[in-house]
Amino acid sequence: MTTTDTHDLKPHEAYIPGHHWRNAEDELEGAKLGMWLFLATEVLMFSGFFCAYAVFRMLYPENWHEASRHYLNWKIGAANTAVLLLSSFTIVLAIRGAQLGKRGMILWNLLITQACAAFFLIVKLGWEYWPKYKKGELPGANFMYAGHGTEHAAATVTDPTAMGQIVEVAAGAHDAAQHFAPMAHDQIFLSVYWIATATHGLHVFIGMLVIAWAMIKAWKWQYGPRHYTSLENIGLYWHLVDIIWIFLFPLLYLV
């Protein structure tokens, strides 16, 4: 930053684009295009989970349906969906604050966004991951779930192939509507659930880190009508994190 004639300007007003850009507008457009491309890579990465989901749902439709009903609580998922939607709204307000040059508006809205993200992660860890871990509702070979009210469930079988046979007998012996019995491929459902939501959770956490960085920048008056590129890109990223959840929630919890 040169300070000779701009010392009375706020940092965002004195912003100078990178030397290889012709002007700040080109730089902003370039940064946004880069962000959209990055979001495309994210969508394609998550599409791997959605493909795996589709394949196994097609292979084991009934098992999938029951597992979704039993292992996941839609109310928790819905609460998390609500806070993420709210956070997407507040981050837009923060960007509006930058356009209007209101530092307080940026900071307060980013703070609410952070609170929503923290709420999401705390619910995820405290009300989903931790109980699941304790109950053994874990992916693949770590699956130790004993089930409710089934005498067969007392036999905790670690070998997945043998367990598959036993739980199939169990499923036949009980009315699934009243007494849930684990089915042969629950662990595949939980595998998809765990790695998809954990990857998404990691994205939420990274989002919190970059929003914290944006808050520092906003505090230092580095965002204003003339320059708020990184804030806008963080907003785009945050919307993507939100949208991925909007797809994960119904697929895993509802249908």
Binding site: H19, R22, M45, Y60, A141, H185, Q187, S191
Partner: protein
């Protein structure tokens, strides 16, 4: 920034330590490109040595003639096991550490911004970051090799890759995962650079064809690599937590891995070949001094190849997917032949009735046309379901792949290196010795791999350390060919070293090119041009424009009345 604007980008900055630090933390695309060049050349040497070792072992059908018997712990590991690790090493290193980054990240990094008249790529810091990610991934790959290597092949097929306890599969998969990030960031950077940093007045159809090729490559890098990332994450989770997604004993699906893997890795072969095609377009038009034939056809065929590349992954699964899918993927695969043939015909048409200068780059371009045509024409037998059943997993596939990847991409890369060497080093190369080496590499390459078509049709399976005596002679010829390739590259290396140490100083435009890089100094200054360059002519107007820095006396233009429009 001070007064460094007119100094060569290679000029030292103070003490040797300061210069080193200036390189380590540079955001200059040319320096980053040179650092990529050094790193990928090292990877090429490592992968090449592994290949020479494989060929040496295959000279004799008895096991263990070359690779020693090897004991580790309680288990006796035979030479077979070492052989598996050597071909996996060759594959992983050549694919992930050499051929994917070699052209885009090294030559593309140096020349894409200059060809657009820009000072740098769109995101210079990201560019440096992608180099460090590449090096980090490379270090993990080397660690995996030291920790016992892998014997899964570069394809990491499940269930073997998820159940084997041998070596460091998880570390190697992690390395490939990390290297993918480097590739994505480079691609992203180049797409934005091409969109946003073209000099004013340069439309899409005024761009050099190398830029078109790198742009098409970048699209594939950005859109395909994330799928590899997620596949490898699942593979690592499978190994560490036994999540069962690819494990049939838990109801998982190992064929799903093949679909995921090839959804990336088939487009990835176009990441490997498209930049090479871009180089060939540049070399042929400059060294034939003729307007490129069918500019738009070549440009669009790059984009067409990028688009089709996403639709054909299933042809790697002809023996594991459903027959209906096979028919669809077979048909789609034939589509690839169209844009690639368009390119070859356009290059040959450019050469027709031109004044060809048979220097090292041009020899490599001509070799490319020869090799790539053979490699291309051996594709349809593999895309045809009936013949593929016979040729599947034989040396025919190995030969086909190497004809397009080595005979194509590596030849284009070495040709491009010679073509642009004077520009980015400021030194000329010894062309006579270069030409001798080019001929040796060409002969050695065809000796090595043409024999493998015969081996394949006769039923020699790939990835086998031993074979029946009938195949001995062909394997012998193939191995001798591999020594010729090694010799040729060794000569090239010596020529490069000689040029750096005492080569003749390069003029600004030694070959008479018309694209922007030939207007810059050799080597270019830090910000490439003293002033933003101006578009005064198209990139291939050889019939109407005297090349920059050339005397019109040395470049008699044809009579304008005799020029027919090229397109």
């Amino acid at each position: 920034m001070g007064g460094h604007h007119d100094v060569s980008y290679l000029a030292p900055k103070g003490t040797p330590l300061q210069t080193l630090l200036a390189w380590m933390f540079t955001v200059d695309h040319k320096k980053i490109g040179v650092m990529y060049l050094v790193a990928t050349t090292f990877a090429f040497a490592l992968g090449g040595l592994a290949a020479l070792l494989l060929r040496a072992e295959l000279m004799y059908p008895e096991i263990g003639q070359v690779l020693p018997e090897y004991k580790a712990g309680a288990t006796t590991i035979t030479a077979n096991n070492l052989y598996n690790r050597a071909f996996s090493l060759h594959g992983v290193i050549m694919v992930f550490l050499f051929i994917i980054p070699a052209i885009p990240a090294a030559l593309g990094n140096i020349f894409l911004p200059i060809m657009l008249g820009a000072k740098d790529v769109a995101f210079p810091k990201l560019n440096l970051l992608s180099w460090y990610i590449y090096v980090f991934g490379g270090i993990i790959a080397v660690y995996a090799l030291i920790a016992g290597g892998v014997e899964t092949g570069w394809t990491f097929y499940t269930p073997y890759s998820t159940t084997t306890n041998w070596g460091a599969v998880t570390a190697m998969v992690l390395a490939a995962f990390i290297l993918g990030f480097s590739s994505i960031l480079t691609g992203l950077n180049f797409i934005v650079t091409t969109h946003k940093l073209r000099v004013p007045g340069m439309g899409w159809f005024d761009m050099p064809l190398f830029v078109w090729a790198i742009y098409a490559t970048a699209i594939i890098q950005v859109l395909a690599t994330p799928v590899l990332a997620i596949t490898l994450i699942m593979l690592m989770c499978e190994r560490m937590f036994h999540i069962g997604i690819f494990d049939p004993s838990m109801g998982g699906d190992p064929v799903l891995f093949q679909h995921f893997f090839w959804f990336y890795s088939h487009p990835a072969v176009y990441i490997m070949i498209l930049p090479g095609m871009g180089i060939i377009s540049e070399i042929i038009t400059v060294h034939c001094r003729k307007r490129i034939f069918g500019y738009r056809a070549i440009a669009f065929s790059s984009i067409a190849i990028a688009a089709i590349s996403f639709l054909v992954w299933g042809h790697h699964l002809f023996t594991s997917e459903t027959p209906a899918a096979n028919v669809v993927f077979s048909a789609l695969t034939f589509l690839v032949a169209i844009p690639t043939a368009i390119k070859v015909f356009n290059w040959v048409s450019t050469m027709y009735k031109s004044s060809i200068v048979w220097n090292t780059p041009m020899l490599y371009a001509a070799s490319f046309l020869f090799n790539f045509t053979i490699g291309g024409l051996t594709g349809p037998p593999l895309a045809t379901l009936a013949t593929d059943v016979h040729l599947h997993d034989t040396y025919f596939v190995v030969a086909h792949f190497h004809y397009v990847m080595m005979g194509g991409t590596v030849f284009a890369f070495v040709g491009g290196l010679h073509h642009w060497w004077p520009k980015f080093t400021g030194r000329m190369l010894n062309d006579n010795i270069g030409r001798i080496a080019a001929v040796i590499v060409f002969l050695g390459f065809n000796m090595t791999f043409f024999t493998q078509f015969f081996l394949g049709t006769q039923g020699m399976p790939r990835r086998y350390a031993t074979y029946v005596d009938d195949f001995h002679h062909l394997h012998m010829i193939s191995t001798i060919g591999s020594w010729l390739i090694g010799l040729g590259f060794l000569i090239h290396l010596l020529v490069f070293i000689q040029s750096l140490l005492g080569g003749e100083k390069a003029p600004k435009n030694p070959y008479g090119g018309l694209t922007f890089e030939w207007e810059a100094d050799s080597p270019p200054i830090e910000h490439n041009f003293p002033h933003e360059p101006v578009m005064t002519h198209g990139p291939y107007d050889f019939d109407t424009v005297v090349p920059p820095h050339w005397d019109p006396k040395d470049y008699p233009l044809p009579d304008p009345s005799k020029i027919k429009p090229a397109h």
